[in-house]
Symmetry: C2
Subunit: 198 residues, 2 copies
């Protein structure tokens, strides 16, 4: 007896999701085929469309369906301020505080030598070009306050200060070891207002 | 600032997977777009294909890409024996014991009045027609040894015996409260050999 090949293929593909082992992959595949074919079809379309449409903003590196994202095109924003975050989720958190009206650069990661993630992987060369465009006056480092986020902020800070830029870091209102995505907006708001030069 | 709509749609669709909340859905969406676009594209294709190709065997009700599954078409199998299981995963476990060479009927569930799952939902009318085809001599009940599986076996047993069929149940070598899928093949093999009339 063999499992139908398209069901095997589905279970195999589900294992590409983080944290899904072979047994759960099989259970999810059965569940979808038995109880939620609409959900399966919808997820199939969503994945195909996202892969086709989503890429990185040529300016800030966040996810966008356009060449340049809406935030980068917004004429109301202060082009002299550039906030550096690890992920689009962190960017979203900062936007929700309503305390920041500058531009962004999204690293899409953090330095992590143990995982083999170096300056190239977080696009530091592009960040340097972006920060030294002559318009940016201050770079606000809003990487996480974890060991890796702090090391990333330190590395970027040293590199940018060497080129004469003003660099600040969110104030330590954010709990040490905390990840921005899980911190309440009020704390991030205070940390944004209290940001300090580094 | 807005998340690109195809990324929002992807996060929303990921929530259709069992056990995925809004926060993990967003993280998985970001993860796929950033680190595994090939995996996302592959999963998208797998879902679309499975929804198109997978349906239920007209004879045994298991998942198949054909009208009738390979097991049902296999002339080597003993058509006088019909084993009733809850899921295709349970069927696979029994196949792996190599102790059973009869046919199957897959309920795709179990009776569960509290969840509103009644005889119709587990296709009992089809099972009755299948079991009373004149060829089947004995029905082996291999539902799980959980409360719901036992109640399902009892219900099916009463119905079939009322029609004069011989009905047996896997012997209680399977631990009480155990789910077949997580029991070792040796235990299931013994239970199959020791099956008893009910
Ligand atoms: Zn942008
Ligand atoms: Zn079949």
């Amino acid at each position: 007896m063999k499992t139908p090949s398209s069901l095997d293929f589905l279970a195999e593909a589900l294992r590409r999701l983080p944290g899904i082992g072979p047994k759960s992959a099989q259970r999810i595949a059965y569940h979808l085929m038995q109880h939620d074919r609409d959900g399966a079809a919808m997820l199939g379309r969503a994945l195909t469309e996202a892969v086709e449409r989503i890429h990185h903003c040529a300016s800030c590196n966040t996810f966008t369906e356009n060449e340049i994202c809406e935030t980068c095109l917004d004429p109301e924003r202060d082009a002299a301020l550039l906030c550096v975050v690890e992920t689009p989720a962190d960017q979203l958190m900062i936007e929700q505080t309503l305390t920041y009206k500058g531009m962004y650069f999204v690293l899409m990661g953090r330095l992590s030598p143990l995982d083999g993630i170096g300056p190239r992987d977080i696009h530091l060369e592009r960040l340097m070009r972006r920060a030294t465009d002559g318009v940016v006056q201050e770079v606000v480092l809003a990487t996480n306050f974890t060991n890796e986020g702090e090391a990333t902020a330190h590395y970027i800070s040293e590199t940018l200060k060497a080129r004469g830029l003003k660099v600040s870091r969110l104030a330590r209102g954010v709990p040490v070891g905390g990840e921005l995505e899980y911190v309440d907006a009020g704390t991030i708001a205070r940390a944004m207002l209290d940001r300090r030069s580094t």
